[in-house]
């Protein structure tokens, strides 16, 4: 096998992409099934949340915005589990939107991961649309999700909560909120 080696890589290499900034992080405590990013600054155009979730018990991963429940969320998703036909699923007028756990509950043994983008989150004239890419693989089982969510509110997004329907995030769970600037 012929190889081309890219050597000498360090963490400080290269120019920074200054339009993508870390806002805040959170970790699981082992005693709570919810984490909240609050007081989100309005100085960005879009938000991205990246997370690795390890629940204490089999559960589902959800997201709410600004502490709002009611019937403010809808979700559409393409879901695969590696065996059954691809499932297209939708939920309307929900009290939360779901990020992962459509075919089955989250894995309690392997990392469940997600990347969620919230577009134009400071708008006060438009409802908010989210897109999510999430999944877990457990070497013989798994779930892959391409999801779209709608938050029926024209208020700017100032807080985001990520939660489990039941159980707690273990201390291995990691969440990071990023802001994406426009020119």
């Amino acid at each position: 096998m012929i190889g081309a080696l890219v050597a000498g890589i360090t963490g400080s290499g290269g120019a920074s992409l200054s339009s993508y900034e870390s806002i805040a992080t959170a970790t699981g405590t082992g005693s709570s099934g919810t984490i909240t990013f609050s007081s989100i600054p309005s100085t960005f155009k879009h938000l991205q949340i990246r997370g690795m979730v390890t629940p204490s018990i089999a559960s589902y991963l959800n997201l709410t915005i600004n502490g709002v429940g009611g019937t403010s969320y809808s979700t559409h998703a393409l879901v695969g589990n590696g065996a059954n036909p691809v499932q297209a699923t939708g939920v309307t007028s929900g009290s939360v939107t779901y990020l992962l756990g459509f075919f089955s509950t989250l894995s309690t043994t392997q990392p469940n991961v997600f990347i969620t983008d919230i577009l134009d989150y400071t708008s006060t004239t438009k409802n908010k649309t989210l897109r999510t890419f999430s999944g877990y693989d457990a070497n013989g089982s798994g779930e892959i999700v391409v999801g779209s969510s709608l938050f029926l509110s024209t208020n700017a997004v100032s807080s985001i909560s990520i939660g489990l329907d039941s159980g707690n995030f273990t201390t291995a769970a990691r969440f990071a909120l990023y802001g994406i600037k426009e020119a």
């Binding site: 081309a4 993508y20 870390s22 990246r50 070497n139 802001g179």
Partner: protein
């Protein structure tokens, strides 16, 4: 709150005339890694795969969701020796560029490693779009990534990014 720029290119390579290339000595100073590959090969139907830390054991698995313009399906592999970027049911990489994006979450953490893979391969009348989640059952930090193709790389560019958290 904001901690400044957090999405940094670590290294870029434009390999030519080879069938593997590596990113080595990856530091642990980021939270996640993102590998972006525009893959082109000189021989048709080539697969693109990755291994971490030179691990050739059967510690890799993945679950995918894909469509080829006619049908959609979901497949998986288990106890395999690599992640497949070009598909569990492979869509070969040819002289038409294919785009692969691999997000590796908590790559330096002490859990097993899970990644999200995006594959975009359109060939004007054929092709495939895929999303997949992949597991590497190893709790070691990822310090090297080797990309393999079954054909000779010609015109490929690959960039590894690091994403920091506050």
């Amino acid at each position: 709150m904001p901690a400044g720029a957090t999405y940094e290119p670590i290294a870029t390579t434009s390999p030519n005339g080879v069938n593997s290339y590596s990113f080595t000595s990856i530091s642990g100073s980021y939270t996640d890694l993102r590998l972006v590959i525009q893959a082109v090969t000189s021989t048709g139907g080539s697969g693109v795969t990755v291994q971490f830390n030179s691990d050739t054991g059967t510690n890799y698995s993945q679950t995918d969701l894909h469509g080829n313009g006619t049908t959609a399906a979901s497949n998986r592999t288990s106890s395999d020796d690599r992640w497949y970027l070009s598909g569990v049911t492979a869509e070969g990489v040819t002289s038409t560029p294919a785009l692969f994006i691999v997000d590796i979450m908590s790559y330096s953490g002490s859990t097993n490693k899970t990644g999200l893979i995006t594959a975009s391969q359109d060939k004007n009348g054929s092709g495939k779009v895929s999303r997949r989640v992949a597991l590497w059952r190893n709790t070691s930090a990822i310090t090297s990534i080797t990309v393999f193709t079954t054909g000779t790389v010609t015109g490929t560019t690959a960039t590894l990014y690091g994403i920091k958290a506050a």
